[in-house]
Assembly symmetry: C2
Homo-oligomer: 286 residues x 2
């Protein structure tokens, strides 16, 4: 896969850095995909910088974070690159692909599907953890020992799962209003049945609460979770109370905040600094 | 006009303040309108706060600034309310209203139209300077001696015009990439012919460069204008070079920045602080 496989769609100067959107053919997903990134001024000046992967939620694409989270100011200050993939394969003409907001397009759940039709395209975990980093390396040499992952809602689920399953690849993690226990909520159960089939045992491989039960929590770096108390999806779908109680899992309930990017923009600086502190310490002790 | 005329469409906590969107029947424009605002925490706590009016550019509505400018952090820090009107009347079923992006819907140019059809609805200057402040006063008591106005592109033109024509109402002004000299650019000439008719003498009442020629520049507070050098509309439509050279008119050319909200978000903190300094000084000497 050469650099020529990437097409630059947009490029905008921001905070002395640059916002870019790319399109490319994805071998993993067998469709065309897009992603956005922000290169801080330090990267444009040739420095190797830390990278954060942002995973968006249901109905989003690669643009939501980069246009609405207000993160570039702090990313430029800290010298951190961010990469924002789309939330699913697109335009694969699968049965039911575009029928609802919580399954198919815009709802890839960052997993490898095993059901008929979907297994040929829906492999968002492999895309994010393997294909995308190769593309990012073409764009900008960066510190592979300083890589964090974070996300929102379905993307918070994705960030926790990919972090817990790829501990050598990701060094820090955080989440806004993640779907914590998808095997026990309607969004998760519907998606897992559609992508993984009726055997619920197979679903646990993509449930953060189940994965954390199999993890020595003392070995984890601090995990930051922000959750608004006025989030309309908290009771039915998000279930932050199901996360284990442990000193390394810092669940911050924020009074009055909802599920929107207004919530994310308010606390994104805290999350960037959370990653920055861990990644800086990791760089000092590679 | 009672408070019952306002309908709250959305409300979101942000930076300990609140983003709100309202709908209402506009007597001035004879149609339904929407606007957005941000109430900083100081306002929610009952303090009278300064108010900034943000005027958006072509194709925008009341949501662009509040979702993409990343201004709430600084507005909350300074304790300033922002109010964002829509850019034109909507849904009036006028001939040509929805045929192009630079005339009619989304392109009201903050003026009072005199041509057939449009004169019945297109009075965005009266709406912004008279009707909207009454609605804002219902939402939040504020300091009427601490009111600023700013905007982007067509809205930068609007901010400069409304400030220069209503010096007792607005105490500070700034603009991002304003259409400085609309009587001399295609966007302006097309809009002015459509709204004001062929008599070009009438157009000068809505041209910031013409208005500044009639103004004692020594009497003005400092005016801040930010203009990206990579703005694709600079040469044909914006013409910052036509603004008079004077110590009170600070035109900042920003290398590599374009016309997008990425540009606005980078420099919005500078603009908020520009207004804050002037409005603070005014409050000290009412």
């Amino acid at each position: 896969m050469g650099a020529r496989s990437l097409t630059t769609v947009e490029s905008h100067r921001a905070f002395e850095g640059e916002v870019r959107r790319y399109r490319h053919r994805s071998d993993t997903l067998d469709c065309d995909m897009g992603f956005a990134c922000f290169l801080p001024p330090q990267a444009l000046a040739g420095q190797k910088v830390p990278v954060l992967y942002w995973l968006s939620g249901l109905t989003c694409d690669d643009t939501n974070f980069i246009t609405k989270a207000g993160a570039q100011r702090k990313l430029a200050e800290r010298g951190i690159m961010v990469v924002c993939p789309d939330t699913s394969p697109r335009g694969c003409n699968l049965p039911g692909e575009d029928d609802s907001y919580d399954f198919g397009s815009g709802a890839g759940f960052y997993l490898t599907a095993t059901t008929e039709h979907y297994r040929d395209h829906y492999k968002m975990d492999t895309y994010v953890t393997q294909e995308l980093p190769q593309l990012v390396a073409e764009i900008q040499p960066h510190n592979t020992n300083q890589v964090g992952i974070l996300g929102h809602s379905m993307g918070g689920l994705g960030a926790l799962n990919l972090f817990l399953k790829n501990r050598n690849q990701y060094h820090s993690v955080s989440a806004f209003a993640p779907i914590c226990n998808p095997t026990n909520c309607p969004w998760g159960r519907r998606a897992f049945e559609g992508y993984l089939g009726p055997d619920e045992a197979a679903w646990e491989a993509y449930d953060p609460v189940c994965l954390l039960r199999q993890t020595n929590l003392d070995d984890l770096p601090p995990i930051l979770v922000s959750q608004g108390t006025a989030d309309p999806f908290l009771e039915e779908h998000l279930h932050d109370w199901a996360l284990p109680k442990h000193a390394n899992i810092d669940v911050r309930r924020e009074p009055g905040y909802d599920h929107s990017y207004y919530f994310i923009s308010t606390f994104i600086d805290q999350h960037i600094d959370h990653h920055w502190r861990i990644l800086q310490a990791g760089a000092a002790n590679p």
